[in-house]
């Protein structure tokens, strides 16, 4: 985890949006956009700051503690599982071996990876294309199409799973990758998000490319899309996470053990494990540690992506 000061967010904070900070010399403004309050002694403020760091650290440790406890429990043998100590008395990887031996863990992991990757690529492409079209083309029916797509955001997934299930039965999509993926390969939220970002791309740029003889698809692919790359990245992060952790639809549409996604497989394993929490915690660790590792490596980009999708969406 990066423990460095995050220069970007600091800069963002110091520059208020749309308002020029006039009248106060920069020296009176603290770095994080706070301000000097007269009458408070330096020692008191330093102390208060230390206290703030401390209390937020305690809270943060509380946030990650369930993961620590999960890993600690997963390293304990069945005999030690009710031992309260954070450090396993006799650490063992047996639980992990047992989970691997008794489940299709590798297969579930692969299923989730394939499904989340293909879905993300599809969403990135089609949502960008649709968002670009709705932002940059004037054509009869454009606003009706936009409202149609937008209106689907209000329909909860749970209303659709029953019709999707019937569709999958009739078309023999049940228990296939396509069956798990098809509801998510294009997302209305992403179309809306990408439209917002493409509206910020200047038309002059696109017209210049037209004069240069680019086809409309080339203009989208080579000129417009690279300009909104941060938005595409954010959409990808958001979509991948959502599909990686998706539960209700994969639960419904899969039948065979080998077609389960990681959350579905872990859920079945855990409820069948008869409260053998040393094994359940090993399974939970196997489900959470890969995604936590990716998060630790890319935490800045991931958090930024989530903020971007959250604010524009």
């Amino acid at each position: 985890m990066s423990t460095n000061v995050d220069p970007v967010s600091r800069a963002e904070r110091a520059v208020p949006v749309g308002v020029a900070p006039v009248g106060l010399p920069p020296a009176e403004r603290t770095q994080q956009g706070g301000f000097v309050v007269a009458g408070q002694s330096d020692t008191r403020r330093t102390l208060a700051r230390w206290f703030l760091y401390l209390i937020l650290l305690v809270g943060g440790l509380g946030m990650v503690f369930p993961f620590v406890w999960m890993v600690a429990s997963s390293l304990k043998s069945a005999a030690d599982i009710y031992n309260i100590s954070l450090i396993p008395p006799a650490p063992t990887l047996d639980n992990y071996r047992e989970v691997f031996a008794n489940t299709d863990y590798a297969r579930w992991f692969l299923n989730s990876l394939v499904i989340a990757t293909i879905t993300t690529a599809s969403v990135a492409f089609f949502d960008s294309l649709a968002g670009y079209t709705l932002a940059k083309f004037k054509f009869p029916g454009a606003s009706v199409i936009f409202l149609t797509i937008l209106s689907t955001l209000m329909v909860p997934t749970e209303m659709l799973v029953i019709p999707w299930y019937m569709l999958s039965l009739n078309l023999h999509w049940s228990d296939t990758y396509w069956g798990i993926m098809f509801p998510g390969v294009i997302s209305a939220f992403g179309v809306f998000l990408m439209r917002q970002f493409f509206m910020g791309v200047p038309n002059d740029l696109l017209d210049a490319a037209r004069i240069d003889g680019f086809s409309e698809f080339q203009i989208f692919w080579k000129i417009a899309l690279p300009l909104v790359r941060p938005a595409v990245a954010a959409l990808c992060i958001f979509t991948f996470l959502g599909n990686w952790n998706a539960y209700i639809w994969p639960l419904i549409v899969t039948r065979s053990e080998s077609m389960r996604t990681l959350p579905v497989g872990i859920a079945f394993f855990s409820s069948e494990a008869q409260s053998s929490f040393h094994l359940i915690m090993a399974a939970a660790a196997l489900a959470t540690i890969p995604v936590l590792t990716i998060f630790i490596i890319f935490q800045r980009q991931i958090i930024k992506g989530i903020v971007l999708t959250g604010l524009k969406g």
């Binding site: 403004r29 209303m159 294009i186």
Partner: protein, 298 residues
Amino acid sequence: MRMTLARRQWVWAYAFIAIPLLFFLAIRIGPALFAVWVSLHQWDPIALQRPFVGLDNYERLRDDTVFWRALRNTWVYVLVGVPVSLGLSLLIALGLQRLTRYVGFYRAIYFAPYVTSLVAVGWVWRWMYMPNGLFNDVLSGVNLGPFNFLGTPDTAIFAIIGTTVWQGLGFQIIIFLAGLESIPVVYHEAAAIDGASAWRRFRDVTFPLLNPTLVFLVITGVISNLQVFTQIRAMSSAGTGGPLNSTISIVLYIYQQAFQALPSRMGYASAMTVVLFAMILGITVFQLKVLSRNNNEY
């Protein structure tokens, strides 16, 4: 006949939008209408007869005590979970905003739970809540308990809400942080120069300007809590919304009726999805009204 430039643009636009539009019609709008149609039938996918029953399913809902229990519980998830998580996340965001060092580290540890699977962390919390689990071990150290948090009808739903709050907190914190960062510093400075206390500055400057962020988080929080499912499957006894239906939610009941009941009651379950849709529609319309009012103020 040569196409004009505008006409040529139309062709490209329709070509670009065709697949997404067909997708939304076939996979979202069609199925939504079909769900309403199914709700008017007695529908078991393996039966040959699927008789049309009009509004019977809705009338049965009216008399179904489990449905009312699920509806009540769902609103407990919303009305307890959303205020608690928003209050906590705003408090933490206000603290994090004042940090000048290790900002990335602090944000990351609060955000970490949000990226993990609810199934897996649901089971981790279940383990900590067990009568012989960590929380009771700690409580027995001060001569309290043991409490069967998830096995007692009065506490189970709140134990599950605790997990939901923990998992979603990071998202709300970073959205609040982004909202706080967008508030011009000069407003605070002006208020401070005028002698406003820290509390007054929060109440009269920060809070009103944070309103759009707050509305966004309230709406997304309400909608996601209305659809609570995964954590109940992972944490309630046998995953059925127990004990004594004290944790069952609308979506869990829909799932049970459509995919677990024998014979499958998909018509009945669809009627419940229509009720859920109506609630979400109501909230969305309300959101549009509130948001447009906010925009007028600026």
